[in-house]
Symmetry: C2
Subunit: 600 residues, 2 copies
């Protein structure tokens, strides 16, 4: 079995010592009660629930997978009871609107819980995760009537949600979708109904036995729709039509045609959904579906990034425990434990290098995630519109970086964890190879990582004359200038400054080249995103090192000593690797575009 | 399904245009008949066999896996018939001794065939692969009687072989093995017999239904054995004892206890083997088993490296075909195919970047592999002992690099291939995720890649006062000096020279630091191995570019144009990434060793 305990010490350090959760979030209107005491209580209960309830079903869920039987999807044994207690405990609606039954807690807390859930049972977490995204979209874009009808049940978890985008011939390019929506005329209650017909694939949680109804949010085209993405509308299509009394009634014309057999996340159902004149309800205006789907997608992209972190954390903890336990060979410096038949493999520099790589990326990523999480709350609740905009800009800028970088390194980290186990890691019973298989999907779904990089250079970089970029460059530049005279910080600030300057240089290069030739921006995109991510991690690692340097004494001295050791590893052994991204960016598109298509 | 055709054009270019196969190998005594005409015929037949026979059973084999039923292992449907025709066609003994029924062809040809087999059905290839290693060990170390008894059947494939090293508590550290060998007294035929008792795990091809007998080569300890690896002896333990007439007789005391459920290579049986007073025969002298096992292991390590290349080639070809077919979105430069609903995704710089990364690594790795393969033949057959030693040195030096770098990049390449497929790559039916799962084991078995790096810095670097190193540095330095005045080669030679100088610098650093503190060498090992591999690829890419520049006209102009485009991609977009390895090496052990063990 894997080894896992929620990293609450690190999370508390980040929230309270580094990121001023209390001043930034608990001070926001509506979050007055979400003070440190409450947050700690929720986190401890959340950790207990994930460790004791979710984790034990993770490997059995992978072994059993979902089964498709006569149009019905059966989740693995125990999932239904787990889901019920998850909902009853209120985890489903943790950060959702209290007007419809949610707990109304800050999104920052939701980020933390998402990490813990992904660490312990990603497949299970997919079901409430999808519902969560659908609730956000409905809350922002649904009519009052739609909200009253669907939100209370969805926020509780009694009903679940999906997002139905992809079709067999199109995933990234949604302008090509063929699913059609025909007006059925106004119903007596005044709501317009539509008849939805088409096939959607790769629909996570499209069909399952956990909830009594499933509310599909479906992209489709109205008869008069303009070509491409400007002609896409968003519809609510419930599995069971809702009766007058609010309970599920007649079965709607939507059915699961089959489920996919996948590399991983096997306990999460991935469905082909056939819509055959299914009754649907338009959300908002016609042809405005793409923007609304992005409401879900942006939240989902951050969530998917956290999946990488969550799985990598479990991989790290498991590998560290194994490395301290497994006796094999002797330290290169002479026997460390002469009384034992061999030393634990953690004495070997290369094993430590693998562990520290995972740890430095995990702790850096967690700090970045919570920095952005707090901005999500500020963007939503701050009384000052300018502050909201600033925070929203930062979130928009960092979303593709978190999605792509966290899932890439998350996959790498699960593989490093497996490598520490040697041959035992390749065997299913130890659970390490499941982490690898589960982590792999996160680089693909919610926009493959190449698309995230294009989103960053093609959309976010130039948006509002570079306004989004300034939300990162200004504070980091300011921080570097403020700290560069502090000799004890030099080992961190100097490489951060160098990384920032390279990032600025390549930003300028891309802005100039990309204006003339968008393929230049496209050729630079993935390396640029990674250089950006390394610089962001360097910023947060410098701040963490600064905070830990100030706390060398006291009860948590060992914690801060380890933090500093990890910071030094990051700056000396990992950050230098980002220089290759800089060189690749500056090499331009020529070596990529020269090869003739036929020669591939 | 995956797309695959054996890359015979590239292989012929390497053998005949680049590496002078005819002058280097076909000129060796015993290989006179293995001229270009014969080699071409064998390769074409081999390609046909792999594409038509091995490939169609690859995915079904993965789906079915091996089944363990009452001590018997059943391979997937079709494997037995495939194995029989493989043996009948002579592929099993392709490069093995003709005195015992082998084809006696050069090892270079075997390298090529290994790549083709791994590209089309790695799991299947494991069975003859293990036999091949066992035949080598028996031929080098067995008595005449042992050779006569076992080799003809094993070379044919009628009997198969294994290597039994690992035990539950030890893999890397074989000094800890507990399997015991007790002398049973001399038999009437004069051969000493031993009673072998113990448990071995992770035994590939340990039990299966393909061959009529299985010949285990087993590491065990004699009663008077010294401690550690100096007390290990090597034994032959056949599944069925051999009768007077040479046919299999009584069942020996060795049985399969269970098979492992693994992430991949599911059609290859991985067995727990229980030896219970099994009859065994000592190979060579007592306590000399480790060195003999390395005879198998060194060949096996090169083979495992080729596994990475083989799988990466299939991933590349499949992804390239998919990228040319899949219509999605539009070129950033404006519609490339305005008559179609969308452009094929190969128009996107990021897709091309992924494809070219795979291709540049594959073609570079293949060139390096065949350079070393030719050295294997020279080391075995050259009439001049000095030439043999030189070639053997190069093989010894490059073995850990090929094993580790090829399997690491091979895993990365299969993942890049899967990424090009997007969500479809994560679904089992397309076969891409199988390549990823199959590729993953190669980084672990035959010495995990961290061990390979230690072998390089701890053993090969200092061996005979750096003699092995000179077999690489001298020809490369000489080549650089000879070519640096050729302006048309400058774009290749200049970065090669830079990479070589960094490699020399870090070699010196490791030699100096490592003498004082072996942990410094250990901390540098993995990054050093990768820097070495990149430099070796840069050398071979420069030579390939030079050869292709000379052939810009004629029938193969398109081939050479693509070769040059790929070379430029390697030098401009990939090689710069190796600079991060240099920085990491020079950072030393401090950031790795500072963290206290308890803090992990």
């Amino acid at each position: 079995m894997v080894t896992y305990a929620a990293p609450l010490d690190d999370i508390r350090f980040l929230l309270y010592d580094l990121l001023d959760y209390e001043g930034q979030v608990a001070a926001l209107p509506g979050y007055e009660e979400a003070n440190r005491e409450l947050v700690d209580a929720v986190l401890e209960e959340g950790a207990r629930f994930c460790q004791n309830e979710l984790l034990p079903l993770n490997r059995p869920g992978d072994e059993a997978g979902c089964r498709f039987e006569n149009g019905v999807v059966r989740t693995p044994d125990g999932f239904k009871a787990l889901y019920d207690s998850f909902c009853e405990a209120g985890w489903n609606g943790l950060s959702l609107n209290p007007d419809y039954g949610g707990q109304g807690l800050p999104k920052t807390l939701q980020f933390v819980m998402t990490e813990l859930i992904c660490s312990t049972n990603l497949s299970f977490g997919m079901y409430p995760g999808l519902t969560h995204g659908a609730c956000n979209a409905l809350e922002m874009h649904g009519s009052d009537d739609q909200k009253r009808t669907f939100l209370p049940n969805m926020i509780h978890g009694r009903w679940s949600g999906t997002m139905c985008l992809t079709e067999p011939h199109c995933g990234t390019d949604l302008g090509l979708i063929r699913t059609r929506a025909e007006p059925m005329g106004a119903a007596p209650d005044g709501e317009s109904k539509y008849s939805i017909t088409g096939t959607k694939i790769f629909i996570s949680a499209g069909e399952h036995d956990l909830s009594e109804n499933i509310v599909h949010l479906v992209l489709a085209k109205l008869p008069d729709a303009p070509e491409g993405t400007k002609g896409i509308s968003l519809f609510i299509v419930p599995k069971f039509l809702v009766k007058e009394d609010g309970s599920p009634g007649t079965r709607n014309g939507v059915a699961c045609g089959s489920i996919e057999h996948k590399m991983g996340i096997k306990a999460s159902s991935t469905c082909v959904m056939n819509f055959d004149a299914a009754e649907g309800y338009l959300v908002g205006q016609p042809h405005s579906g793409m923007a609304k789907m992005f409401t879900m997608m942006n939240v989902a992209r951050l969530d998917v990034g956290i999946q990488g972190l969550g799985l990598a954390e479990t991989a790290y903890q498991s590998a560290a425990a194994y490395a301290k336990e497994r006796l094999q060979g002797r330290s290169l410096a002479g026997p460390a434990y002469p009384e034992k038949a061999a030393d634990p493999i953690i004495v070997h520099p290369d094993v430590r290098r693998n562990l520290l790589t995972m740890r430095a990326l995990n702790e850096g990523a967690r700090a970045l995630a919570l920095w952005v999480a707090i901005a999500v709350d500020v963007a939503e609740k701050h009384p000052d519109a300018a502050k909201r905009q600033e925070a929203d800009d930062l979130v928009a800028l960092m979303t593709p970086i978190i999605k792509s970088f966290f899932t890439d390194y998350g996959f790498e980290a699960t593989n490093l964890g497996m490598q520490v186990y040697g041959g035992h890691g390749y065997i299913r019973e130890h659970g390490m190879e499941q982490l690898v298989r589960d982590a792999r999907i996160a680089q693909i779904y919610e926009g493959a990582n190449g698309i995230q990089a294009l989103d960053l250079v093609g959309r976010k970089l130039g948006q509002n004359m570079g306004r989004l970029l300034r939300r990162f460059f200004h504070p980091v530049q300011g921080y570097v200038e403020a700290k560069m005279t502090r000799p004890e910080l030099a080992e961190f600030v100097a490489p951060l400054a160098k990384s920032l300057s390279r990032l600025q240089q390549s930003t300028l290069w891309i802005a100039q080249q990309g204006l003339k030739d968008p393929e230049e921006a496209g050729a630079a995109a993935a390396d640029y995103l990674n250089l950006f991510a390394y610089t962001a991690l360097a910023y947060l690692w410098t701040r963490m090192a600064e905070a830990s340097l100030a706390q060398q004494d006291g009860d948590s001295a060992a914690f801060h000593e380890a933090k500093l050791a990890t910071a030094r590893f990051f700056f000396q052994r990992l950050l230098p690797k980002s220089s290759g991204h800089f060189s690749a960016i500056m090499a331009g598109k020529a070596p990529i575009m020269a090869m003739k298509e036929a020669a591939f």
